[in-house]
């Protein structure tokens, strides 16, 4: 068990490296793609592609079990934020059906030092994409969008996650 933690620790990098790399990516995309709406879509797509790979890493590191309930899923997402971005978003605003919740944070490493141009860009659109991609690989179809964004003047950033359906035909044998 001690080895496991040391393996995790050895791969830590300064968050500023990630912040700056992500910033470079977004500004490059804005240069190449005129329409900020398209940049949002592309970022979401990149995030999705990262998510479908990242989920395996998450499962291998944390030995998680399958979530059969949205509250467990929320916990796992929170854990993933801690693992990959070293931040601790709060899970709030549960819908009464228990299928929709919000992740709220007031500081995110990837949006540090950012002053937004006022053009409709969703700077952190990678995150909802990654969540959607990752959950899809464990047979959960979700919708994920920003309700509030500090970069647009809100006091906190709020990401809403909504359960749509379980992808039954994709459930591997022995799990269904």
């Amino acid at each position: 068990m001690s080895r496991q933690t040391s393996r995790l620790d050895s791969k830590k990098v300064n968050s500023e490296l990630l912040t700056l790399t992500y910033g470079a990516l977004v500004s490059q995309m804005l240069k190449e793609i005129e329409n900020p709406e398209d940049v949002n879509k592309q970022l979401e797509r990149i995030g999705y592609n990262m998510g479908v790979r990242l989920i395996e890493d998450f499962l291998a590191r944390t030995s998680s079990n399958r979530c059969l309930e949205m509250r467990e899923t929320a916990d796992k997402i929170q854990q993933a934020f801690r693992l990959y971005l070293n931040m601790q978003p709060t899970v709030t605003s549960w819908s009464s059906a228990g299928d929709e919740f919000s992740l709220v944070w007031d500081q995110c490493p990837i949006s540090e030092w950012v002053e937004m141009p006022n053009n409709g860009l969703k700077y952190c659109a990678l995150i909802p994409g990654a969540i959607r991609g990752a959950l899809q690989m464990v047979q959960l179809d979700v919708q994920c969008w920003f309700v509030q964004d500090q970069l647009r003047g809100d006091s906190v950033t709020e990401l809403r996650v909504k359960f749509i359906k379980r992808l039954e035909d994709a459930v591997p044998a022995g799990e269904d």
Partner: protein, 217 residues
Amino acid sequence: MVIYGVFIVSKSGGLIYNYDHNIPRIETEKTFGFPLDLKLQYENKKVVVVFGQRDGIQVGHVLLSVNGSPVTGRTTEDGKDVFEFIESKENFPMSLRFGRVRATTNEKIVLASMFYPLFALASQLSPVPKCSGIETLTADTFKLSCFQTLTGVKFILVTEPSMQGSDVVLKRIYELYTDYALKNPFYSLEMPIRCELFDTSLHTLLELVEKSGTANL
């Protein structure tokens, strides 16, 4: 501890990685006089011993070479048909080499896709709901351990029957897969894994396990 091989089967049942680690080579060469006291038959593009087990040559072994010339299909390297050659008396005495051949990549792909429904069948046959499918399959000469991730990828380890701690090894292989295959930007999901870093770290892991067991993984 001996590990014979590792297979990775994708969510859709395709073989995306296979590695033969340590398969003992069994080969016997012997000089024969006329008439040949083995019954040979041509099956699956190989000349196979069907009857007459002796001197280490067993039923099921494949003819590898005739007088030192390797056999492909039913012809020798110099173009002679094996069956015609062994039937004429003037060619004797001759030296024949027999052995067990490794499964070809195609055969492995077929085997991997056969394991897939077997796994699903096992989970459906279960008297209790929520059965995991086949985790270990034991025979007298080997043990197959299978670990399915939540995303549906199967990691299969074939070892000698007395192997302990296969689950730990499989877990480590999963970690290597997430690190060296999935984080490689040039690797596309569900496709065969051709990543050198993955190969080398897997080899290191398997050697470590064979030398010092699974205790310090």
